[in-house]
Symmetry: C2
Subunit: 137 residues, 2 copies
DNA sequence: TATTATTACCTTGCATGCAAGATAATAGCG
DNA sequence: CGCTATTATCTTGCATGCAAGGTAATAATA
């Protein structure tokens, strides 16, 4: 019997828990959650994505996405617009408020990454990220 | 600006998401969630732990624990008992049903770990686990 | 073109996960 | 002993996260 302390699912869950906690603390000043910030990061890469495409890029199902999107529209970080060509598609656009917050958020993300990987050398960081991508597949 | 694809928080979240998904699928046959299984793993290590001690060992706050415990008592995986000496303390004990499920659950956990780390050598597995423990601290 | 299949999105129900506050029991201290 | 501080647990409110099912719009096909 493997101790749960050596179970990779547990180790991933708790590392993720700590990482989420650090980022969450830094984002609190902006009134944003890590998921909401991730949502906007997808749009910084390409504004006007459809809800489905955002979900594919950040690997989140549309059920969860719907709630996140609702809250972000309410908080005026983004606006939704039905596609002119395909009436099924909802496109999402960043607001001015979101664009203004960009530098601060980018900084929060960078500081978080540095803090989380403080004990890692550059090589270790790269190896660690490769490992994370290699989990299952 | 770091792409979210290189953000360690995102990488951890998604690796955890995949890991959770694999374990969840294997546990479905038992009618258990990964969290409920983890909860029982803590009790296999030491039966009769208090709610608070379980939370410390699996790094979960009591707010979340309360709900998990309720569902596990209802499903008769565990029973709760107020400590005889300290009336504030609730102790949790595994039921016969839980003990019978043990071999199957241990196997599910092992299969999950092998599947998730299929591409890893033994050295890489050890290094990866060390990295996960080294995230923040 | 009429019908069927597919697609995009949404809604509901259930299970975490955390912050903040409430409650009850015990411990500590004069 | 009586009062205060601490501790253990529970409750509520909000935000994910997923499974399953619903709806509307478009695509595919006869």
């Amino acid at each position: 019997m493997i101790s749960f302390r050596d179970n990779i699912v547990f180790l991933l869950a708790k590392a993720h828990q700590r990482a989420q906690g650090v980022l969450k603390a830094y984002l609190q000043a902006f009134g944003l959650t890590p998921m909401q910030c991730l949502f906007m990061e997808a749009l910084w890469e390409e504004d006007g994505l459809s809800v489905g495409e955002i979900g594919r890029r950040i690997a989140l199902d549309t059920a969860t996405l719907a709630g996140v999107l609702d809250r972000m529209v309410t908080a005026e970080w983004v606006r939704r617009e039905t596609d002119q060509v395909d009436g099924r598609v909802t496109r999402v656009y960043l607001t001015e408020k979101a664009r203004e917050a960009f530098p601060g958020l980018a900084s929060a993300i960078e500081v978080t990454n540095n803090e989380l990987l403080n004990n890692f050398s550059l090589e270790e960081k790269l190896l660690f990220k490769r490992f994370l991508r290699d989990v299952k597949d």
